[in-house]
């Protein structure tokens, strides 16, 4: 739960992704419950029928249609003009939003480290499948240590952009508060197209997560939410008379840890998570709550595949 004095900061790809995991990730692709249109022709089927080789349907010719798509075989048999319709292959936008507020920099193992690894793994899958990848942050510190509302690296495509992704992820500095709603507003305004959006946070947001998530939903994105909690947040192992200091807003809470208080804390946490789950379920947001001790390969290869994000 408490903030570590010197948390682990990965500096290169190998520290974010195990090579054996990379091999397994190469076989995966991002999926969506919706087939979404992209701007560029990619390796992904779009609902828009287009020019791919995969036949989709026929329709009657109307004036102005491209004559190259007339099915001449049917015209020979039926003496009527029908157009052959093909499923057009389009690229997929994957937008990963990482909460970089100071609260993510807590726990052992660090919640933020898991976020970095998860973003890197999903980003790799996306790049490997020629999808368009955007990674945005909520909060965080810039190079000078000044709190930011949001930052992003946009429109990465192809494996060659993997170093850019890694560089971006490793230079992220968690800190400051979590202007969640404001950051979500900016992300929703600035994002382009439609696709899959993954929001990774601990969702311990004092101003509330409702407005922010609602804004992200508005863009028609297939939204996934990953809630990362430290094991120490799930099972506090603290004791004595404590002055708890909020790492984001320096709010102080004086507590004397007793068995009733611990019981109450767990009840509060469970209620909080249940409310988040209900919020997501009502809005078709896929929520997965994981402890930060979860190995990233288990999270990606097991949890997210079961949730239908990867195939």
């Amino acid at each position: 739960m408490q903030r570590l004095e010197s948390p682990t900061r990965p500096t290169k790809l190998e520290e974010l992704l195990d090579p054996r995991l990379v091999a397994r990730l190469s076989q995966l692709d991002i999926t969506s419950r919706k087939i979404l249109a992209g701007k560029l022709k990619g390796e992904r089927r779009s609902k828009r029928r287009g020019e791919s080789v995969e036949f989709a349907d026929h329709r009657q010719y109307v004036a102005g249609d491209d004559l190259r798509h007339i099915d001449w075989n049917i015209f020979g048999r039926l003496d009527r003009l029908f157009l052959k319709l093909f499923l057009e292959e389009e690229d997929l936008s994957l937008h990963i939003v990482i909460d970089c507020s100071a609260s993510l920099d807590c726990g052992n193992p660090s919640k933020f480290l898991l976020c970095q690894k998860l973003a890197c793994a999903l980003g790799y899958v996306s790049l490997a499948n020629l999808h368009r990848l955007t990674v945005s942050t909520i909060g965080g510190l810039d190079a000078e240590g000044t709190p930011m509302i949001s930052s992003a690296i946009r429109d990465l495509r192809g494996r060659r952009r993997l170093p850019d992704l890694v560089r971006f992820l490793t230079t992220l500095r968690p800190g400051g508060g979590a202007p969640f709603t404001e950051a979500c507003k900016r992300i929703s305004v600035t994002r382009r197209g439609k696709g899959v959006m993954l929001v990774v946070s601990d969702y311990l947001i004092k101003e509330g997560y409702d407005d922010g998530l609602r804004m992200l939903l508005g863009g028609g994105y297939d939204l996934f939410a990953i809630q990362v909690l430290a094991p120490q947040e799930l099972e506090p192992d603290i004791g004595g008379d404590l002055r708890l200091k909020d790492t984001e807003d320096a709010d102080l809470a004086e507590v004397t840890i007793t068995a009733p208080l611990l019981k109450k804390y767990k009840e509060t946490l469970a209620a909080y998570c249940a409310r988040l789950r209900e919020f997501c379920a009502r809005r078709e947001i896929t929520l997965q709550t994981v402890p930060s001790s979860t190995p990233v390969d288990v999270l990606v290869l097991d949890y997210l595949r079961r949730r239908g994000m990867l195939a």
């Binding site: 311990l204 002055r243 790492t247 507590v255 009733p260």
Partner: protein
């Protein structure tokens, strides 16, 4: 339960408890910890209201534990105690009986390891010392105590002090003795150290008034088995202003029993002095019939063992009236039995009788007192008597003496020769001198002459010297017969006096503080009497035998033989060679001996004694039973045995006290003025101080708090 210094504790509590609570508010130092979000914690503690001022302390186990520890400490400061009717500043006189009966090994229950009564008494006295109030913080003096140990002697081992270390050292230093108990002297000694009533001239007008602040009361703590034969001489103060509080801590088990040797004597046969008869008297305080072996040894060699069965001691209940109630006490009347051994030994010897009790059954106590299981006797060498008679003519006396077996024929002389004879050295060669109707003249230190007896042993017929050694002659007496006589006296044993009648007698009276003891009484006073002091012994027959029918009776011959034997044995009497522990050894040695030494029974370093001008050596008190051997160079007396260049005389010291051998503890003490019952068992610890336990409890609570604190703050 009372509190000795409750004011101190109240003041301290009024300061300390609020201070602790306030300090706890101030000192509630919370450890800072940075966490991801206080969101959930705030919601959690909202219900618990953890920040309300007093609710902050709610369920605060550390504060509760600290308050508990503080309360225990404050409670200890008040010096609570159980069974404490006495106030601080009390004076205690701890009197511990160290007599022979306190050697009994029933100081602990049967199931526990054996300890003596004395050890039990010491333990209980130490418990009392431990419970004495310490001097308080605000000037109270605390309890004071003094320690007296007593047997026949009383010793103050520690005067009044509140120093517990000194008191403990004094009590632990008490060792058991084989002596008898004399409580009255010890009580007088204790009383002598009580604070005296003060009369002050506090107004300066020359009138001394009683000090109103005076508190002369004192608590006497008596640790004894109650075998105190002289209790009737003890008078406890019962005044309102000064009442002696005697707390009797009874020591010993009422079911204990003992079989002991209460007397031992040896008599040589009058006709054959090489034969001796040893009489051993046993006493049993067991309420069951018991059988023991009595073994007799002469100079360490066993010469006889006899199986003796002793009937059960009688148990009865005696009602004793107290000030407010009547209590019943079990009284056990011991049973006695005698054993007789015949031995053949002309030489002097140490004779030892030993009781060998049967092994007790499991879970049953055996004979608890070993001190009286052995008896010693110094048997002097066999010797016949040498007798001289000073008479102006007495046919009965002459014929009687000539017919007796003596060392040599009795020597007769007239009264005119007798005066010179008694002043000569020749007289010392005779064991007994018979005076017939004549008293010699002696010269005292101032040169005045008067009728009297010189040092020696005399049988006097028809005359007596004046008091104090003799009797008061009141003039002519009545003719008559013997009215009563002491049948158990060695002289009178077997002497038939019923048919005696006399016509010429004197009216006699025994002067006050005279050593004279009447053996037979006639119509005008004693007709036969005995008198003795350190240098003389005499038996007087106050009537004229020739003016009576006595010479015609065999009883006169029996009396003559017994008297000569009794007086003659005085020179070689075993009785003079015996003593009791606690008494002083006094032996008259032949004149002119040099370098007298005394070897005690434990054969430790001999003690050098100095012979006094009267010829006596004195040593005492005798602490232990056994044989004390006097040795010197020079002439030997009739009791003595020459060994190499030395002469030796053995004196046997035996407990020989029925009161000490009766080990049944008394639960009720009847003094001259009051009856005191034993303190109830369980309350015998006296005052039970609680403050050490409270301090321990406080320490334990602090330890629990420390453990709890560490457990709580562990991450």
């Amino acid at each position: 339960m009372t509190f000795l210094t409750w004011q101190t504790a109240a003041v301290a509590g009024a300061i300390a408890i609020p201070s602790l609570v306030i300090l706890y508010f101030l000192k509630l130092r919370r450890r800072d910890m940075e966490i991801s979000s206080t969101l959930l914690w705030r919601k959690a503690i909202e219900d618990l209201q953890a920040n309300a001022p007093f609710q902050r302390l709610r369920n605060n186990i550390l504060l509760i534990l600290q308050l508990l520890a503080l309360c225990a400490g404050l409670f200890a400061l008040a010096q609570p105690q159980f069974n404490a009717t006495m106030l601080s500043g009390q004076r205690h006189i701890i009197m511990i009986d160290r007599s022979a009966s306190m050697r009994s090994t029933d100081g602990a229950p049967v199931s526990s390891p054996e300890i003596s009564r004395l050890q039990d008494a010491k333990n209980k006295a130490l418990a009392l010392v431990n419970s004495l109030a310490e001097p308080g913080f605000f000037g109270s003096d605390g309890d004071q105590a003094m320690v007296i140990a007593f047997d026949t002697q009383s010793d103050i081992l520690q005067p009044f002090t509140n120093n517990k270390t000194e008191l403990r050292r004094a009590i632990e230093g008490i060792t058991p003795t084989d002596a008898r108990t004399t409580f009255a002297d010890a009580f007088k000694l204790a009383k002598a150290h009580l604070p005296k009533r003060l009369h002050l001239d506090d107004k300066g007008d020359g009138v001394k008034r009683q000090d109103e602040q005076y508190d002369g009361s004192v608590a006497i703590q008596l640790y004894s088995d109650g075998r105190l034969p002289d209790l009737d001489q003890v008078r406890l103060q019962n005044d309102i202003t000064q009442r002696d509080e005697l707390t009797y801590h009874v020591i010993g088990d009422k079911d204990s029993w003992n079989i002991g040797i209460v007397s031992m004597r040896a008599d040589r046969d009058f006709d054959d002095a090489s034969k001796a008869t040893v009489f051993v008297s046993l006493q049993s305080s067991s309420t069951k019939p018991r059988a023991v072996d009595v073994q007799l040894s002469v100079e360490g060699n066993v010469v006889g063992v006899q199986r003796v069965e002793i009937a059960a001691a009688a148990r009865s209940k005696v009602a004793i009236k107290l000030e407010s109630a009547t209590v019943e006490e079990d009284v056990i009347t011991p049973e006695t039995r005698g054993v007789i051994f015949q031995i053949q030994r002309a030489e002097g010897a140490i004779v030892t009788a030993r009781i060998i009790p049967d092994k007790p059954a499991p879970n049953e106590r055996g004979d608890v007192l070993a001190t009286d299981d052995i008896g010693y006797l110094s048997l002097p060498p066999a010797r016949r008597l040498a007798v001289a008679a000073i008479t102006d003519g007495n046919l009965w006396l002459r014929l009687s003496l000539e017919g007796m077996r003596l060392a040599r024929p009795a020597q007769f002389m007239s009264t005119s020769e007798g005066q010179a004879f008694l002043g000569s050295k020749e007289a010392e060669e005779f064991d007994v001198i018979v005076l017939d109707r004549w008293i010699p003249t002696i010269t005292d230190d101032k040169g005045a002459s008067s009728p009297g007896l010189p040092p020696g042993r005399f049988l006097v017929f028809g005359a007596t010297p004046p008091p104090p050694f003799g009797l008061d002659d009141l003039g002519p007496g009545k003719q008559g017969v013997a009215l009563s006589w002491k049948r158990d006296h060695p002289v009178m044993r077997g002497v038939q006096m019923e048919d005696l009648s006399f016509t010429d007698s004197r009216a006699m009276a025994i002067a006050r503080s005279s050593p004279v003891v009447s053996l037979a009484e006639g119509p005008s006073g004693p007709i036969i009497a005995e008198s003795s002091d350190l240098t003389r012994r005499a038996i007087y027959v106050t009537f004229n035998p020739l003016a009576s029918n006595w010479p015609l009776k065999t009883s006169s011959l029996v009396f003559l033989a017994k008297s000569l034997d009794y007086l003659g044995r005085d020179a070689m009497d075993t009785q003079s060679l015996t003593a009791q522990p606690g008494s002083t050894l006094t032996q008259r040695l032949p004149r002119g001996v040099g370098s007298v030494s005394l070897t005690p029974p434990d054969r430790s370093r001999p003690i050098t004694l100095t012979q006094q001008p009267s010829g006596e050596v004195v040593y005492g008190p005798l602490r232990d039973v056994g044989i004390y051997t006097l040795a010197w160079t020079g002439p030997a007396g009739g009791l003595d045995t020459p060994v190499n260049n030395q002469v030796r005389r053995a004196v046997s010291v035996n407990l020989a006290d029925p009161a000490e051998s009766d080990v049944t503890p008394r639960t009720v003490l009847q003094t001259a003025s009051r009856v005191v019952t034993a303190q109830q068992e369980g309350a015998s610890g006296g005052i039970q101080r609680l403050w050490p336990y409270l301090l321990l409890a406080a320490l334990a609570v602090l330890l629990v708090e420390w453990w709890f604190y560490n457990r709580k703050v562990a991450i």
